[in-house]
């Protein structure tokens, strides 16, 4: 059975046998960096293609179908086009900030990758405050958007960036509170502990209705945090041309685009880890045979399957719901999501203290 943990351990021991500690550690850094960048590239290609296919199927269209079997290499061709395009810097922009913003966006989404557990025991950094780290770093992504919007010297960009700021600052709250419900149930911020606690069942089943409510709130808030429709006010095409990345072209635009899609993956991976048990297979009580079959499926397949299921749900949102107005957006957060999630957190705390969860 394919186990990423065994491969990682084999590489680790081989490196420490053949080199001294400093060099081995440096080599591991390089390997991890290359793997993260590869994952980025693959995710960008796969998710953009998935988005286009899902959207076209939901609108009874065909979607990309010319390049490769079933249009599989459409995004590869798009990327090649973006690479050869000129990365133009307009005349009156703040050159340093303008050129830095897309890289900051991509670095932020790269850093969030650190505590995510892709497979059993396969994780870059099992930090003891994993969940806090993720929420803290993910809120940095707004800086790149504000930076790009401000430096572009363009009213559309600035408006888009400001909207995005208001949006992320408010939705961070309910996303954080819904994550907290799981932290309360588990009693740990460490990602591996949270997954371990779901050995007997995923939190969405074990935590009764409050866990389902917080799952729904998490999905809504994370859709808002990644600036996707119906919360894509930051780049509302019909009002602001392209919002904060109006002035970007070529590969710099592609980096923003890539960061958006990788953020979706990260958010969905966190959701899958917290509520759907990360790499834990689906088990039903005492059905030993069923559980054995489920165990036979590699745990990395479980993790990516869950993450992509959530990504599909978020794409489903995008191609169904119309965009909210800014006042509706803030209403939804401050008058509905936040009170509900605070009350929900209280409820979960009572459940956790009384030990009513399974």
């Amino acid at each position: 059975m394919l186990s990423l943990e065994k491969i990682a351990n084999a590489v680790h021991t081989w490196l420490y046998q053949h080199f001294d500690e400093t060099w081995a550690l440096l080599f591991e850094f390089v390997i991890v960096g290359v793997m993260v960048i590869t994952l980025f590239a693959v995710l960008g290609l796969v998710l953009v293609l998935m988005e286009r296919k899902v959207s076209s199927w939901m609108q009874l269209r065909l979607g990309p179908n010319r390049i490769g079997p079933g249009g599989m290499f459409q995004t590869v061709a798009d990327t090649l086009k973006l690479i050869v395009k000129e990365g133009m810097t307009p005349k009156n922009v703040d050159r340093l900030l303008f050129n830095m913003a897309p890289f900051l966006a991509i670095i932020v989404s790269m850093v969030i990758m650190a505590p995510i557990m892709f497979d059993k025991g396969f994780q870059i950094w099992d930090i003891n405050i994993g969940v806090l780290f993720v929420t803290a770093v993910s809120s940095l992504s707004i800086i790149s958007i504000l930076m790009g919007g401000w430096a572009s010297n363009n009213k559309y960009s600035l408006l888009g960036a400001m909207r995005s700021g208001a949006q992320i600052v408010s939705y961070e709250l309910s996303a954080g509170l819904s994550i907290l419900t799981i932290v309360v149930l588990t009693g740990s911020l460490r990602i591996s502990d949270i997954i371990e606690a779901q050995q007997t069942g995923w939190w969405i089943f074990k935590g009764h209705i409050p866990a389902i409510i917080s799952f729904v709130i998490f999905i809504i808030a994370s859709t808002a945090e990644t600036n996707r429709a119906p919360f894509d006010l930051a780049e509302a095409e019909s009002e602001l041309t392209a919002g904060f990345h109006t002035e970007y072209s070529g590969m710099k635009f592609a980096l923003f685009f890539l960061a958006e899609y990788v953020n979706i993956f990260v958010v969905c991976a966190i959701g899958a880890t917290l509520f759907l048990g990360g790499w834990m297979p689906f088990h039903i009580g005492n059905w030993t045979q069923f559980n054995n079959i489920m165990d036979w499926i590699p745990s990395s397949v479980w993790f990516f399957g869950k993450a992509f299921l959530l990504i599909f749900v978020i794409m489903w949102f995008r191609w169904t719901f119309p965009r909210l107005r800014i006042d509706q957006l803030l209403n939804l957060e401050w008058r509905y999501l936040l009170p509900v999630s605070m009350f929900n957190l209280l409820l979960v705390t009572i459940i956790a203290i009384a030990g009513w969860h399974f």
């Binding site: 899902v54 939901m58 009874l60 065909l62 489903w316």
Partner: protein, 159 residues
């Protein structure tokens, strides 16, 4: 806002969102059967166009090379952008009576917006919209068309 309204708001909000998601989810599952896209250059021979499709104005002629246009110029007056120009003449009947008829029905496809107002204005149903759309040519003068065929005349009985 009281508490009951608050929760019913949430409930109806979620319900309406779920209804929308049901529609798109259904499309997603049935996309293979209900495709509305035509694979145009590939299925050119079997292309199915909607009946209401408006590609260009044509004047149908029957087997005797007769049309229904009396030259009343109602279509010319109805056209918002001067697409149609009708040149009339006077036919002299055997009894020596003069009768108005069309000499040339000029139709500028390059100006036409396919608004269908001329077809609606026509009292005798002489012109219709044809479902053709491959109008590209290399010279715009080719788009100025003469709709009545040479030697054609108005069908008997149409005033």
């Amino acid at each position: 806002m009281n508490l009951k309204e608050y929760f019913s708001d949430i409930f109806y909000g979620i319900k309406s969102l779920a209804t929308g998601m049901k529609v798109t989810g259904g499309y997603f599952l049935r996309h293979g059967k209900e495709k509305i896209t035509e694979q145009y250059p590939d299925n050119r021979s079997t292309l199915v166009l909607a009946e209401r499709f408006r590609g260009e104005v044509v004047m149908p002629h029957d087997d005797n090379n007769e049309h229904a246009c009396t030259g009343c110029t109602a279509c010319e007056l109805a056209c918002p952008n001067g697409t149609i120009k009708i040149i009339t003449k006077f036919d002299v009947s055997p009894e020596g009576k003069k009768k108005k008829a069309i000499d040339t029905f000029i139709y500028h496809l390059e100006l036409c917006t396919m608004c269908n107002l001329c077809v609606e204005a026509c009292p005798t149903g002489a012109i219709t919209m044809a479902p053709t759309f491959e109008h590209s040519v290399f010279d715009r003068s080719q788009l100025t068309k003469k709709l009545n065929k040479p030697g054609s005349k108005v069908r008997a009985g149409i005033e």
